[in-house]
């Protein structure tokens, strides 16, 4: 090697980027069960543990249901606990996911989004995340491996904030992000250590001087009150995230927000979506802008809690907007579409909306597909019917 040039960049897949963040967090417990396309996350992390890079207790569970149950137990005990999954694994965890959020345990779960069976498919769409959208977890979507890394660190702080105390899922698109190797900037281990700080659990089971019970029976007299607290906690995440994002910008130089606007300020047409397709849309926008077409993008980073106010403000002046859901809601419109349209219900001025479903089962969505959406918006070809992008 003749080159002596030092690069700060690391070539990492999204899965490895998540594992790198986990290494720097050095959680007390990670319970794992493999499933495509999440496997690179736990595989990379298990290797780090085997090489002594972390002091984490790894629990090789016999299923995702058990893996989530183990992290619930560990977190209740007072540990920093994490796991990762995809698709059927997330479906199998679903029951325990509600328990994690209901018990207010700040567990971090990396999710490589994948379609749900049947038909059996291992590729990326976001139907697994949408299935758990009401589970009380914070849901953060990442566009690329860099955002996966950053979101893992940020979400830990967010989940553990005393006003939030809510578990968080950090999403990345299966294969497109989880397996594709990209340039990722890492922070120094010491900087991360300082940023995440020490975890001081509120009601640790292992504090035997202050015995507590988790999971007691909670009937019509108090269940409602506990759910209201939960709504308050996840709701607080909106404001708390702003502060953590600012703090993170100072140490990383990367400034995030609950939503990202790309050339949206003066746009007349726009697409709204979550995840990796944002990159494709940005390329299309740059080309359209060269031709004088005022196209823009609104990327949703935080889906739960839903940043309705910010979204409404950012879309208010746009003429026509296509909302892209990478998950079908058979019998209804996509989740993102429903929620964004609802923001403008009763508003004096509203963009015209086109609901779209795309990328199911990992169906490729290329520059041409996105270009076609913008072309239709430009021509005013808008209907109340859902458009299926790339469907034969």
């Amino acid at each position: 090697m003749s080159s002596t040039r030092k690069t700060k960049y690391h070539a990492l897949s999204g899965g490895e980027a998540a594992a790198q963040a986990m290494r720097q967090i050095n959680p007390d417990v990670v319970a794992m069960y493999p499933i495509t396309p999440q496997t690179p996350i736990i595989e990379s992390f298990a290797k780090m543990a085997a090489n002594g890079k972390v002091t984490t207790s790894i629990i090789n569970a016999e299923s995702e249901h058990s893996a989530m149950s183990a992290v619930v137990g560990a977190s209740a005990a007072g540990a920093r606990a994490m796991t990762a999954t995809s698709s059927q694994g997330l479906a199998y965890m679903a029951e325990v996911c509600y328990i994690a959020s209901g018990m207010r345990l700040p567990i971090i779960m990396a999710v490589a989004n994948r379609s749900l069976s049947a038909p059996l498919n291992i590729h990326g769409d976001q139907s697994d995340a949408m299935m758990l959208r009401d589970s009380g977890w914070i849901q953060i979507f990442s566009e690329n491996a860099q955002e996966v890394y950053d979101n893992m660190l940020i979400s830990l702080r967010l989940a553990e904030h005393p006003k939030v105390l809510t578990p968080a899922m950090v999403m990345q698109d299966g294969f497109i992000t989880s397996h594709a190797v990209q340039n990722v900037l890492k922070l120094d281990d010491e900087i991360v250590k300082k940023f995440i700080g020490e975890w001081k659990p509120l009601y640790p089971l292992l504090d035997i001087d202050h015995p507590v019970t988790y999971g007691g029976l909670d009937l019509f007299d108090y269940y409602f009150e506990h759910k209201r607290q939960q709504i308050e906690g996840i709701g607080n995440a909106l404001k708390v995230l702003r502060a953590i994002d600012s703090e993170y910008a100072k140490i990383s130089g990367r400034k995030y927000s609950c939503i990202e606007e790309y050339r949206l300020k003066d746009a007349s047409i726009a697409i709204v979506l979550m995840g990796s397709t944002a990159g494709t849309a940005k390329s299309v926008i740059d080309e359209l802008r060269k031709k004088g077409i005022k196209a823009g993008l609104l990327k949703i980073r935080l889906f739960r809690p839903f940043p309705g106010e910010a979204i409404k403000k950012s879309l208010a002046k746009i003429k026509r907007v296509a909302i892209l859901d990478k998950a079908a809601a058979p019998g209804a419109s996509g989740a993102l579409s429903n929620e964004i349209r609802a923001l403008f219900a009763g508003a004096k001025k509203s963009p015209q909306f086109q609901s779209c479903i795309y990328g199911l089962g990992g169906r490729d969505v290329g520059l041409e597909d996105i270009g076609k959406i913008y072309a239709d918006l430009q021509k005013g070809k808008i209907s109340d019917k859902i458009k299926y992008i790339g469907l034969r």
């Binding site: 209901g102 018990m103 207010r104 345990l105 105390l165 509120l202 009601y203 202050h210 015995p211 507590v212 019970t213 988790y214 999971g215 007691g216 029976l217 909670d218 007299d221 108090y222 269940y223 409602f224 009150e225 506990h226 209201r228 607290q229 939960q230 308050e232 906690g233």
Partner: protein, 108 residues
């Protein structure tokens, strides 16, 4: 008891006070209640062991008055006291397990 608002209770349904199940009176769930005939009871304590709510209590024979002692058929050191109807859910396990059929499930 005045119920508290959502701002006044620990989050996550966590119970911070040990032994607080005592405050949760489950007796209201009952549709039939066990009534023990002390003249038939042999103080075998099977009902005490089987009761899932620990709602049946035991006394020392020595603590009873002479009048009370008369009614007791088998005079062991510890004898059956009573069923605590604040917690008895009326499941009927005691009546089922009683070897001398001394417990009857009566209508409330």
């Amino acid at each position: 008891m005045k119920l508290k608002s959502w701002r006044e209770i620990p989050i996550g349904g966590v119970i911070t006070e040990p032994g607080s199940a005592k405050k949760f009176k489950t007796g209201a769930w009952r549709t039939k209640k066990p009534v023990t005939d002390k003249t038939k009871c042999i103080n075998c304590m099977r009902c005490v062991i089987f009761c899932p709510d620990a709602a049946i209590s035991v006394k020392n024979l020595a603590d009873l008055s002479e009048a009370e002692k008369v009614a007791i058929k088998v005079k062991t050191e510890a004898v059956l006291d009573c069923t605590n109807y604040d917690f008895c859910k009326g499941c009927g396990i005691c009546a089922e397990e009683c070897p001398v059929k001394a417990i009857e499930m009566a209508k409330e």
